[in-house]
């Protein structure tokens, strides 16, 4: 589904990603861990198509397409979803209107007819229930005045609405208490199918107790320095990152 090959990327001339290679197949959950500043969020942003980053070399193929040649909105329509670490507020734009535009764009790209208002409403209710999001919030402006937990639940709500092929969850656990973490993780787990895949970016092993990964990668200084099974996350929890960094030198 996703094939990243020797990806290098800069921001303002500073290299951040220094040769990342990664293969994600349908049905898989990959966790990407690593200390602060290792390039985790940059990888998410580059895959989603944020224009501040410049890809200097390497390639990314997604569902047979050259992902790097596409603008952000077309990547999204192809089925790439980014769960933001810091979801943005859009004053005056209701979640319902926002999702209407997003779902319409995604469905049009998939060659599907527009949803009827009744069907759209039904799907919104179901998606809200999945992450225990107060249905009243759907009428409110996107993320405006939301608590940290509500913002993150809103991200997973949107993921449920858009049914992406690949979701990239960027530190979705940051700022969540244990109950919110459980709700968000359950939502993600229920959205898992054999056809879709996820990349879960996190600092802490804690999230991976809930969303169990197939593969864990350690990102350090812009490179994947180690990959392993879910037990690798446990090792990191007890031993930290130092032993890996030392073994590199």
């Amino acid at each position: 589904m996703l094939e990243i090959n020797n990806l290098h990327a800069n921001i303002d001339g500073t290299p951040i990603l220094k040769g990342i290679s990664l293969r994600v197949s349908p049905g898989e959950v990959h966790a990407i861990m690593g200390p602060n500043g290792s390039g985790k969020s940059t990888l998410a942003s580059v895959l989603a198509g944020r224009s501040e980053y410049t890809v200097t070399s390497g390639s990314v193929t997604f569902m047979g397409r050259d992902l790097l040649a596409l603008p952000a909105e077309e990547r999204a329509r192809l089925g790439i979803f980014l769960g933001f670490q810091y979801p943005v507020e859009i004053p005056g734009v209701s979640i319902a209107n926002f999702m209407k535009a997003a779902v319409a764009a995604r469905r049009a790209a998939m060659g599907l007819p527009e949803l009827t208002p009744a069907e759209f409403l039904k799907q919104m209710r179901a998606a809200a229930a999945l992450v225990e999001l107060d249905p009243k919030l759907i009428k409110r402006a996107v993320n405006e005045g939301f608590s940290g937990g509500e913002k993150k639940r809103n991200e997973i709500f949107q993921m449920a609405m858009l049914k992406p092929a690949l979701s990239i969850l960027d530190e979705t656990d940051s700022g969540l208490d244990i109950d919110a973490l459980r709700i968000v993780s359950q939502g993600v787990n229920q959205l898992r199918t054999p056809e879709n895949a996820s990349i879960v970016i996190t600092h802490y092993q804690r999230l991976l107790d809930y969303i169990v990964p197939d593969v864990v990668h350690v990102l350090y200084a812009g490179r994947i320095v180690m990959s392993g099974g879910k037990e690798l996350a446990k090792d990191l929890e007890t031993k930290g990152y130092d032993w890996i960094i030392k073994s590199l030198n």
């Binding site: 989603a48 198509g49 944020r50 224009s51 501040e52 603008p71 952000a72 909105e73 999204a76 329509r77 979803f81 980014l82 933001f84 979801p87 943005v88 507020e89 859009i90 004053p91 005056g92 734009v93 209107n97 926002f98 999702m99 535009a101 997003a102 764009a105 995604r106 790209a109 402006a141 949107q158 858009l162």
Partner: protein, 482 residues
């Protein structure tokens, strides 16, 4: 802002203006130029009573002593007032009594504008006065409104049929001597709408005037006079469009509202005059004087305006809060793109005790446009316990446009509470990226964000028009990102 977007903005071409067509209508026009003979000729064409001619001549003589105001934050070209046609009327000139008498081309024009003149096709619950160039061509639902004693007709008919009312109220809110453009309008105005809501009557439908400039080389000078008698209520909407032409055309209107004790007037405008092309060629010069007088106690006037058109807008819908406990609101969205210039805002003049006003102004600048808010809040010495809250927000799209705010407060009474908030922001990259990451294209994303920003104002428009206005904002922004 990324380099590529700057390029895109620079290369942007605006979408064709949807209402830029010209109708093939024969016009009855007076020769170009302005002098006493023209003023007399306009009055004669309308078979006006003497008091009207006198009003016009006084106004004209006063206008000759004035100079065009230059204090606004606008680059104003010199306007040659002798090179304008002051009267143009589609033929036939007689008022249509039935649909058969209206020129089919005229009917087609309004139908293309989404304003069918046939009552049965009209949006349910909206009565329309359609004004083309210098005259009103049709007022719908008059008979039905007359049942509740409501008078809704063209200004020239009001002059003939209700001279006492016209004489009593015309010029009582905006005197002919008020300013340069008001004086000009008072001298040469050719038609407009008149509305009177009797005591205690709640007008059962939205009233609206649709202004259309068609003939070339003409100016449009219309007057609206709206009187809400004690305890009455009316909601009024005006819309405007004009053909796409390379030369500039002048529009100088006067709107007077009078709210007597306990009356409420809700006045909404969706202004979409031709704004000129992407290089700033052509477009309407819009110099308008709008003022309401909350003459009675507990009266209320609410202005809502969505301004997307005109090459130049100079307009300050204002309210005189004369009665005790009178209140007024001004909600405005002014969007400028390409080379448009807008200097717009409001004046809230607190004279009565316990009067309150609220100002919500949302400016949106794109392209190379300049957008200014200009406001005055005045609290007179006798206006005990007056309150005002002003909120002026500016939103910038791109880095070639300008947003300016000129708020003035003059408070002469110590019991007043006057608050002012202002913000200036740019559509930020994070919001745009968030939308794009959900599959929403850049142009739609900007439309969504701008509509969200203007939401508080749009919510004040009657439902059908709120939807229209929302589309209009979206259309007017097309081309800002290529």
């Amino acid at each position: 802002m990324s380099e590529s977007r700057n390029e895109i903005i620079q290369e942007s071409t605006s979408q064709p203006y949807k209402y830029g067509f010209v109708s093939a209508l024969e016009s009855d026009t007076l020769p170009k130029g302005l002098n006493e003979d023209i003023v007399r000729a306009i009055s004669a064409k309308k078979q006006e009573p003497d008091f009207m001619l006198e009003f016009r001549l006084k106004a004209f003589r006063h206008w000759q002593t004035l100079a065009m105001p230059r204090w606004a934050h606008l680059t104003l070209p010199d306007i040659d007032f002798q090179d304008i046609i002051y009267y143009a009327a589609p033929k036939p000139r007689k008022t249509a009594k039935s649909m058969d008498e209206i020129d089919p081309e005229l009917r087609r024009t309004f139908s293309r504008l989404g304003i069918p003149l046939e009552e049965q096709k009209r949006l349910a619950g909206v009565a329309v006065d359609a004004v083309m160039d210098s005259v009103s061509v049709k007022t719908t639902f008059r008979a039905e409104l007359a049942k509740s004693g409501i008078i809704f007709c063209s200004f020239r008919e009001a002059v003939r049929e209700h001279p006492d009312l016209v004489r009593k109220y015309m010029g009582s809110v905006v005197p002919y001597s008020d300013n340069y453009f008001a004086a000009l309008n008072s001298a040469v105005f050719s038609d407009g709408s008149f509305c009177y809501i009797p005591k205690g009557v709640r007008c059962p439908m939205e009233l609206s005037t649709y202004f259309r400039i068609n003939a070339a080389g003409t100016g449009q000078f219309e007057r609206t006079l709206l009187v809400a008698d004690e305890g009455s209520y009316v909601s009024y909407l005006e819309g405007c469009t004009a053909p796409q032409r390379d030369e500039n055309q002048l529009h100088a209107a006067v709107v007077e509202l009078v709210a007597l004790s306990g009356a409420e007037i809700k006045y909404s405008t969706v202004q979409n005059w031709y704004p000129g092309d992407k290089d700033g060629k052509g477009g309407i010069f819009n110099f308008v004087t709008k003022r309401g007088d909350c003459r009675g106690d507990h009266s209320r006037i609410s202005w809502t305006q969505v301004e997307t058109g005109s090459a130049i807008t100079w307009k300050y819908p204002s309210t005189i809060l004369r009665g005790d406990y009178a209140s007024s609101e001004f909600y405005s969205v002014a969007l400028t793109n390409n080379f448009q210039q807008a200097d717009t805002g409001t004046k809230m003049i607190h004279l009565g005790r316990h009067t309150s006003s609220r100002i919500v102004s949302k400016g949106i600048s794109a392209g190379r446009s300049q957008n200014s808010y200009r406001g005055l809040v005045y609290v007179a010495p006798g206006a005990e316990n007056a309150r005002n809250h002003s909120q002026c927000d500016s939103l910038l799209i791109g880095d070639k446009c300008g947003a300016h705010t000129f708020p003035v407060m003059r408070v002469k009474n110590r019991t007043a509470v006057v608050e002012h908030e202002a913000t200036t922001s740019k559509i930020n990259e994070d919001q745009l990226f968030y939308c794009k990451q959900r599959g929403i294209g850049e142009e739609d994303a900007i439309g969504l964000i701008v509509n969200g920003y203007a939401r508080e104002v749009l919510n004040n428009l009657p439902m059908e028009f709120a939807i229209e206005a929302q589309k209009l904002l979206q259309i007017s922004l097309e081309g800002t990102v290529g």
